[in-house]
Symmetry: C2
Subunit: 364 residues, 2 copies
């Protein structure tokens, strides 16, 4: 097991990463302060992991459970209210601890419930997907969607601890493993060239879930994100580099309809566009682009936009993105492999050529 | 105008108190960071104060308004969602500022909306009732009710500024002015004996809204609360003394049905019980009790429990109060006028006698 401390002053917390650690009661005990525990999960995850967690904690705590329907479309205020009702019906008081057992949607909603139940109670993240392990573990973002926008309702709220059991990845569909790997590769690209090289050397072992290597990849991803977030907890500036590939990616996700392309798949295709544009602007070499594309491809991720998506569709969707300030399109680009920056300073000619070439390649 | 700074490190903010200051544009300008403003109010307050505030700010900012139905029964997640929808429909971004214009219910809901819109945007409190001016201005409590409990959903979130215009009290019903005065008197009782004496000397002028004196009373109340809250921002210990009279009071409120006795009225009767019990325990003199009762009575507040409410009803309701930890009833009592403490250490004999005598007096 490896332990990483996310350093946020009096809101600091540990991330534990290892194989089989969901059975280590002491990790939970250290993070639970009162006598009550509410485990929030979804129907899919509950079938596999809920009974054993209830059994682990049930002899020492009042353990109640709240099983939500599975899927992003249930990430709503109504589902959030369901968690609040479960807490109140089981008479949980201000010293209860909420445990989020599942992927990003469960973590975001349970975290928001913990942030706002009786004005805030402790919570523990037990992320079970690769994406949530390397993304939602760090950063304190919690919340739900509104019909008029994703993640529009929420709070910054830090967990007491994050417990990442790499064994839970064995129950993950292959497509979701790849989608998570897109974010792992992103960390190498934006801020850690040696990690990027390590990923190139070890991508095959990672895809077959070599326990030690996957632990290392998750550790390095969380460490990279923690470093960025520590500089910018409330998302004012530098934290934006975490969105490499995401503005292009969101355009793809919304154009295709949410859920048809997984978030990580859209980010992968978006990352290739950002890398390609960086090359056109003279910051990356042709070899840098090739290496990026090859690594994403080895993780079984798409490296081209969806067939038939036009340049106009990209531009229209991207201008609607919430990261557009005052109508100017800001992108995350690379100075070099391992060195990202935020800019609105690029020629539309290069931007258009980048999209056109990718669109042509996709249609071929 | 007087200014008080609530000292909470990087979440510190000013409270401005004075007559007519709702027209001072600079006070708002200093607290608004972006270009967008959402004024949240209710139908009653909107009729009197909304148009002039829109006019004050409308030439400089994008000003939108969200007018909620009036009343505690609308302090729900559904009404909160209405605020979120208003913000999204008018395309407010992360730099918007929410202004809460109204009493405690509006402040709590608008504050919770600000705390959770896009994970937190700035907000300004413009409390228009005496209760909200001396109570919700300080402490950062925001939230809504759940069918299973009051204020069960919410967050601690501090405003950018609080702008208290004492002129707005002239539009307040007399009963609500008295109810607010119950909390003002409370601050004298729990932590400020000189202020208590000052209130005794000036209660008549206060009830007729002498501008300078009401400004002073609000200032001293906010200062007292700020001092207590600064010691205990997240409500772990000492902050409990702010609940003098409230455990008895909540029992009265719920027994009578919410809204039949105003919160401040129930607190006044509850305060007399707490003062009386303190006398029975030997900490207060008979004269202290008389002075407390007289001051509350001069503010046109009830000093006896509701006719017909039994000792059993009190005890049952009080044991259901959320401040009961592990089944033991904790009360806020007085060591002396101006010096409150929290205790579970009192003889049930004294407690029962205190209730019985008051109940008998009420039925006489």
């Amino acid at each position: 097991m490896r332990t990483l401390t996310v350093d946020l002053g009096d809101r600091s917390y540990p991330i534990y990463i290892g194989s089989g650690i969901r059975h280590q009661k002491q990790l939970f005990r250290d993070a639970i302060h009162g006598k009550q525990v509410m485990i929030v999960t979804n129907t899919t995850v509950a079938d596999i992991y809920l009974a054993e967690l209830v059994a682990l904690l049930g002899d020492e705590y009042q353990v109640d459970t709240c099983v939500l329907p599975d899927g992003e479309k249930y990430k709503t205020l109504a589902t959030y209210e369901q968690i609040m009702s479960a807490l109140l019906e089981a008479k949980h008081n201000r010293t209860t601890t909420v445990i989020a057992l599942g992927g990003g949607v469960v973590g975001d909603m349970a975290g928001f419930a913990a942030a706002t139940y009786q004005r805030g109670v402790p919570f523990i993240q037990v992320p079970t997907t690769l994406l949530s392990q390397v993304d939602s573990s760090v950063g304190g973002k919690t919340g739900v969607n509104h019909p008029l926008g994703k993640n529009m309702i929420g709070a910054f709220y830090q967990p007491q601890a994050v417990i990442i059991d790499t064994e839970s990845l064995s129950s993950l569909p292959a497509r979701e493993l790849s989608a998570g790997m897109a974010e792992v590769i992103k960390y190498g690209l934006i801020c850690d060239a040696p990690f990027f090289s390590w990923l190139e050397d070890n991508i095959d072992d990672l895809m077959t879930l070599d326990s030690e290597k996957i632990t290392h990849a998750i550790y390095e991803s969380c460490r990279a994100k923690a470093e960025v977030v520590a500089q910018d907890e409330k998302e004012g500036g530098i934290r934006a580099i975490l969105n490499l590939g995401h503005t292009f990616g969101h355009a793809i996700e919304t154009e295709m309809g949410y859920g048809n392309w997984l978030h990580g798949e859209a980010v992968a295709a978006g990352t290739v566009l950002a890398v390609d544009l960086s090359w056109r602007l003279g910051s990356l070499t042709e070899s840098d682009v090739e290496r990026s594309v090859n690594l994403l491809a080895k993780a079984n991720l798409p490296v081209l936009p969806p067939k038939g998506m036009s340049r106009e569709a990209f531009i229209e969707r991207m201008l609607l993105d919430k990261k557009v300030l005052d109508g100017s399109l800001r992108l995350i680009l690379l100075q070099a492999l391992g060195d990202a920056y935020v800019t609105s300073d690029f020629a539309m000619e290069d931007f258009n050529a980048c999209l056109d070439d990718a669109i042509e390649a996709a249609s071929a």
